[in-house]
């Protein structure tokens, strides 16, 4: 066992209101400068939808992340390292600017400076790449809130995997939001992709960074990252990515995206993991085993052996304590309601997601379930608008069981708390039905519902 510490994040998608405050504050703080106009270290996607850059999750096309080769060894999907060295100068698997979006501005000045004429002045869009007038046809969030639905959503790679039967009709509408930053993976394929060794993972906290002095602009990291969260600054010729706001984190402030998240859905914390078990966990043959394997890599911070191991590894006492109080550990490992994003990429991502509940599909039928009534609870979860299969393709490589379990816990919590809210006696059978006790359920409730600042970060 080799204990290491990792800063990790949980986003509770059930609370996400899709407002992109995180994106804007992050952009304003880090990337509102030339060369990275198109870059959003943090972005929010409407699902179903194509994502940013478009269809990035389709690794058959983009070749990001890892796969198991014929020998059962982990290899970069973009090709083994030899192959990549040989193709340094002609990397074909890069999203083009059109896959992100062609950034633009407007002739704002014309509004003020326009000479007298026959028409009201207007600010036309103009490309920030070519300087030419343009018709805007894609943006950082083009398919927001199901915009362009029937024409655009069928290209969602996740939706394609789920079923031919998901109909994009008014009656069956569903959507939710997926905010994304760099995953700061335990097994980062971007780091492994870099021919210059410019990408690295910080020993003390696991933050993945690009050394700006060492980067040579090969852009193999862009290909290597299956989440497409490493970007190319076309002015400096270097790669840039989310830094998990290390200048803030180092002084005890949460990341900008977390603190400014108006939905209060982001949690930050320390987890301890066994670095010796990472490769094995990333290499389990069955994709459905990746999520449990990833959980197994995380260590119990209360276990005396782990504490001893952490001390041996030079992890400071306050970090060990932080790991013991970590909301990440609670949500991921104890309550098991937070799931990894695309574990099948085999990078062991460290940003976790609580899946979202949604209304039941009963609008026009006139029947319905009382979502809080324990008698209907699980039936209601089975008829939620967001297909469980869709969530499973995002979070558990298609295994619906952990997603359903997480949603049931959320539903049970609501049912249990409704009794208390209305002054009825507590019903301990409700937490039991989802494998929890009342005390744990109430702790989970406080963490999710009250979500005090000090407990989120």
């Amino acid at each position: 066992m080799r204990v290491m510490a990792q800063l990790a994040m949980v986003m509770n998608l059930d609370k996400c209101i899709g407002r992109h405050t995180c994106s804007v504050t992050c952009k304003q703080t880090w990337t509102n400068r030339p060369g990275v106009e198109y870059v959003w270290f943090n972005n929010v996607e409407t699902r179903p939808g194509q994502g940013y850059p478009r269809t990035y999750e389709d690794q058959d096309a983009w070749r990001g992340g890892w796969r198991l080769n014929r020998r059962g060894r982990l290899t970069l999907r973009g090709g083994g390292r030899f192959k990549r060295l040989l193709s340094l100068f002609a990397n074909p698997k890069m999203p083009s600017i059109q896959h992100y979006y062609e950034p633009w501005t407007y002739d704002y000045d014309h509004l003020i400076s326009a000479p007298a004429s026959d028409h009201t002045p207007v600010a036309r869009p103009r490309s920030l790449i070519s300087g030419e007038p343009m018709k805007i046809s894609w943006s950082a969030n083009w398919d927001d809130s199901l915009a362009g639905g029937p024409e655009l959503i069928p290209e969602d790679p996740v939706l394609k995997k789920v079923s031919e039967e998901v109909r994009l009709s008014f009656e069956q509408t569903f959507m939710f939001y997926l905010p994304r930053i760099c995953e700061h993976c335990l097994n980062p394929s971007c780091v492994a992709s870099c021919p210059s060794g410019a990408l690295y993972k910080r020993t003390e906290d696991g933050i993945v960074l690009v050394d700006q002095d060492r980067c040579r602009g090969w852009r193999m990291c862009v290909t290597g990252c299956p989440y497409k969260k490493v970007y190319f600054n076309h002015r400096t010729g270097k790669a840039e990515k989310c830094t998990l706001c290390y200048p803030r984190m180092e002084v005890g402030q949460p990341t900008v995206c977390s603190e400014t998240c108006v939905g209060r859905l982001r949690y930050l914390g320390v987890v301890l993991y066994d670095a010796d078990r990472v490769l094995a966990a990333a290499s389990v043959p069955d994709e459905h085993d990746l999520y449990p394997a990833q959980l197994d890599v995380l260590l119990d911070p209360h276990d005396p052996d782990v504490i001893a191991g952490a001390r041996r590894a030079g992890i400071p006492e306050d970090w060990i304590e932080a790991a013991q109080h970590s909301p990440i550990h609670a949500l991921v490992k104890e309550y098991r309601i937070a799931l990894p994003l695309h574990p099948e990429f085999r990078t062991l991502p460290m940003v976790w997601y609580v899946p979202p509940l949604s209304p039941v599909v009963d609008t026009l039928a006139g029947t319905g379930h009382d979502g809080e009534d324990i008698g209907n609870l699980f039936g209601a979860i089975d008829s939620l608008r967001i297909p469980v299969e869709y969530l499973a393709e995002l979070f558990t490589a298609g295994d619906t069981e952990p997603v359903t379990a997480a949603l049931r816990k959320l539903g049970a919590m609501r049912s249990y708390m409704r009794d208390l809210n209305l002054g009825r006696p507590a019903d301990p059978s409700i937490p039991q039905a989802v494998g929890m006790d009342a005390e744990a359920m109430e702790r989970m409730y406080r963490l999710l519902a009250l979500a005090k600042y000090e407990e989120r970060y």
Binding site: I17, R19, S23, V24, T25, Q28, T29, R71, G72, R73, L74, G80, R81, F82, W104, Y106, Y108, I112, A114, S117, D118, H119, T120, P121, V122, A123, P125, I136, S139, A147, G148, G149, F170, F176, N187, P188, G197, R202, D211, Q212, E259, T260, V262, R264, L279, P359, T363, L364, A365, G368, G371, E372, R414, S415, M417, R418, L448, A449, A451, K452
Partner: protein, 1219 residues
Amino acid sequence: MDQRPAGLDGPVSDLLLRTRRLLRPGKVSDDLRTITYQGGRAGDVFYRDRWSHDKVVRSTHGVNCTGSCSWKVYVKDGIITWEAQETDYPSVGPDSPEYEPRGCPRGAAFSWYTYSPTRLRYPYVRGVLLEMYRKAKASTGDPVEAWRSIVDDPAARRRYQRARGKGGLVRAGWDEAAELIAAAHVHTIRRHGPDRIAGFSPIPAMSMVSHAAGARFISLIGGTMLSFYDWYADLPVASPQVFGDQTDVPESADWWNTSYLVMWGSNVPVTRTPDAHFMTEARYRGQKVVVVSPDYADSTKFADTWIAPHPGTDGALAMAMGHVILTEFFVRRPTPRFLDYCRRYTDLPFLVTLRDTGDGFAADKFLTAADLDPAPGDPEKFKTVVIEEATGRPHVPGGSLGFRFGADNAGKWNLDLGGVTPRLSLLEHPGTEPVEVLLARFDDGSHTMRRGVPALRVGGQLVTTVFDLVLAHYGVARDRLPGRWPTGFGDPEPHTPSWQEEITGVPAATAVRVAREFAANAEESGGRSMILMGAGTNHWFHSDTIYRAFLALVTLTGCQGVNGGGWAHYVGQEKCRPVTGWATLAGGTDWSRPPRQMIGTAYWYLATDQWRYDALGADELMHPLGPGTLHGMSMADCLAKSARLGWMPSYPTFNRNPLDLAAEARAAGDDPAQYVTEQLRSGRLRFACTDPDAPENWPRVLTVWRANLLGSSAKGNEYFLKHLLGTDSAVRAGEVPPELRPRDVTWRPQAPEGKLDLLVSLDFRMTSTGLFSDVLLPAATWYEKHDLSSTDMHPFVHAFTPAIAPPWQTRSDFDTFHTLARTFSALAGKHLGTREDLVAAPLLHDTPDEMATPGGVVRDWAHGEVSPEPGVTMPKLIVVERDYGAVAEKMAALGPLVDTLGVTTKGWTVVPDKEVDYLRGINGEVRDGVAAGRPSLARDVDACEAILALSGTTNGRISAAGFRELEKRTGTQLADLAAGHEGTRITFADTQARPVPVLTSPEWSGSEHGGRRYTAFVLNTERLKPWHTLTGRQHFYLDHDWMHELGETLPVYRPPLDLQRIFGDETTGVTVRYLTPHSKWSIHSEYQDNLLLLSLSRGGPDLWMSPADAKRIEARDNEWVEAVNRNGVVVARACISHRIPAGTVYMYHAKDRVIDVPRSEISGLRGGIHNALTRLLIKPTHLIGGYAQLSFAFNYLGPTGNQRDEITVIRRRSQEVEY
């Protein structure tokens, strides 16, 4: 399975990596996957440098979103770099989520404006006008004469008017721009009168000092401040109708206390972004959430149940829910809590007379003590009557309007029933007879229903209770009553669940289930069911009826005045918590009273000549059961009547200069009020609104600040351009034919184009308002000035603070208006001197004026039905002295009237003598001039201090004194609510340090006492203070004549207007309903031009439509389309989504024409804003005044600028666009 040890790639690769591992400083992991470093990484210093900054300043955003979020503004090297939310709100308590962080992406993108190319850096004047002015000034040598010479020359005037909105702005210096503006003001006052000058600036809560500075200037010169809350259609007229209050709602943290939440036409994540988390989190506490929305709005994501009624039919669903609740919780199983609540806090037990129509009975007027008394006094006509259950005798409980005023009534204005139990229904009462009554319906051609009520003869009149009428109206059958009743929920008779299904498309079973759950939850939780309602239901023509049907649900179930329950209307940032101080400064009431305050909708309706195109006459709206007095009247006629009866304000008031009228009266040795009354009676003097197109009645000068009138709120935008401004427009409508023209209002053959002499605007960015302005002044942003912010959503006041000084030549609104005032005063001292101004003021709410119209019976002096008597049957006529040379001095000091007349809010008055002394101390004392010895208001910080010191929410002494005043009227205990904080005074520095919780105050109806969450009407339910209504209770029944005219005495369902029929629209093409809901990517037009938000959306105006409608016009996603109707043309790109219902398109509010709007194929002009397709429509019942809660107060009551009933034709256009 053969499980070899995990590894990477293959052996060759391993070898390579192991070798390299030795050659470099980083640590390659043992398994060769990754590289780690520790410490000393110079390659990352870039990000550390970028994060460093010099200071962080607290400020906020003065935008009409109700957010009032406190922000950290970061500054580095004297440059604003970015912003992030403050997280230091005082705690809500250990068992609730907190208010942090408050703020959304729009606010987070604000600093982009500071240095953006759309920032206005210098004063601008239209080149053609500036040239004329310079020339005229050179030849006349006097600015006022120069202005006169320009506007007196029709050709010159038309020349610069025609150039409006077409570029050609040139830079001018501040001195010259201010002089031109001041000259126009002086000339207009002298020639036409001060009421021809108007100011428009909305929502004081979003930056109180910036609002008050301009309003103070306009008010002190006698100009007209235009209302906004009603004009924006954000005012729910049902609120004054039902509660006698403008709007009072729970703070968002109170959603947490709700156990059943219906979000009805309110897209909380989009429009209440900073507070949406309370809703998402309350679900974890077991709150059940129902969303009612015609599309799959963002709020729907959080629903347990989604209900999608057809747009505009929400009232039918609410009526059916009321039917279910009355049936199950009142008749089949009377619920003690609900019955008790209704007896105490509603008008349901009060008696209403029944009138024999000849064809059956109809409910008429409230029975009053005057009906029981052979020689009644005036107050008796406003004391309503119940039947006492124990004795069966009529009883006049305290608390009604007749107990509110006068020494005799001291201590009797309260809701204490003193052991009397009023009867809700007369059904079980001995001696009643079943009587068939006629009731109004609008869902089919029959118009009436016949149903029975139990009636009793009292004081010679046949009466029943409001409750019995309500049961009959909702169709809840009881034994022994005649008429046609639904046989059950499945009978499609009004107002059953099956009846609504045919109208709304919502399954009857769903309506039943939600109604039942809503009421059962209220019963179990003690009233913690809430309806959170928004623009989706409030922006319709008949929204007052929709809302009354909603309010019936929360009132019947005893949810109003309970934490976690009741109505939660959040449309517009109406709650300026330190309201008394703000109102004093903004109205200039410390120097002269009353200020001229006008209903915005009526003002624009006449000024932009939309009345000439309005085919919606009173007959379209009237109900056959009404007295028929509105028959044949146009809306302009209704306005004129409301004005002459003193119901609503009307400015410009007369067809003469009010300064000249006062002077003439004095010259004739007459009292000006008497003189004017006589002139009016004889017809020698006319109200300006009876001839809006006569040049002497035009508005002449308009200043707009903190607003984008022409790019956002102007319903009927193209009519504004055509008639008010006199420039190009895309109006396509024809004027109404002679038979639809007004009866009492003069129709001139030629509609004027270009009424306005001067349009001035202040802004920090370029909007349509700026594009069309004659003079454009560069404003400081929200990060460059001191000010105050508050909202209804949270209970704090907090500060704006400059992060940098105003850059370039920008100035704060405060400094700009003081600049204008100084320039004006210098010219006015010479040209105007001191004059008397005759102000016509309407009958006011919360004053004895409310008793001007006993029984709500309308009598018109112009028709000889009554004699003209100022302040009773017509407006009050008040002479105000204006020392025009001293306006600047008065603006900059707190005037003496606060010491003598005190400050008044909602009927109670306090003399702030100690506060005046205090303000002298901290602001300093003025040494010379008319304000010598008064506290200074020369700086924005001084104004902040004055607002805080003069208001009960921020000064415990004012609050306590106000409560003590109120106690004298109510006789109930109230002052203890302020006792704990009587010594507390919030200073401006406090608000800069951290958001400060406000104090419980009689300015509002809730209590924050003991850290409690604010919710409305707690003082009423817990302290028995009456509502400010006729009965003193929450009203189901409204008995004014005009409510009878429209058949709206009770909550009723009225369908959206059939504008296609009324206006005779073309029907060729694909016609769809046109909705303009609030946008995700902007706050009105603010931020819709912001590059960050444009990059996160579709980068310009788009029209959301269903795949079915897109198919009908053969448009694909992102193709250019045009939407056209009689009002104008919109050019936008199609955004096709299956979450939009077929038959309806959405253009999110507010799309200004400044960003990526090409020229239209249809008009040949630049495409219009979202409001290019809408127009103003006026509802006569919003014009009622002088009667109990139906009395005017500024932004409290008035016609709304509704905008949801509109339709449009959509078509795909050529994809080649020209700009």
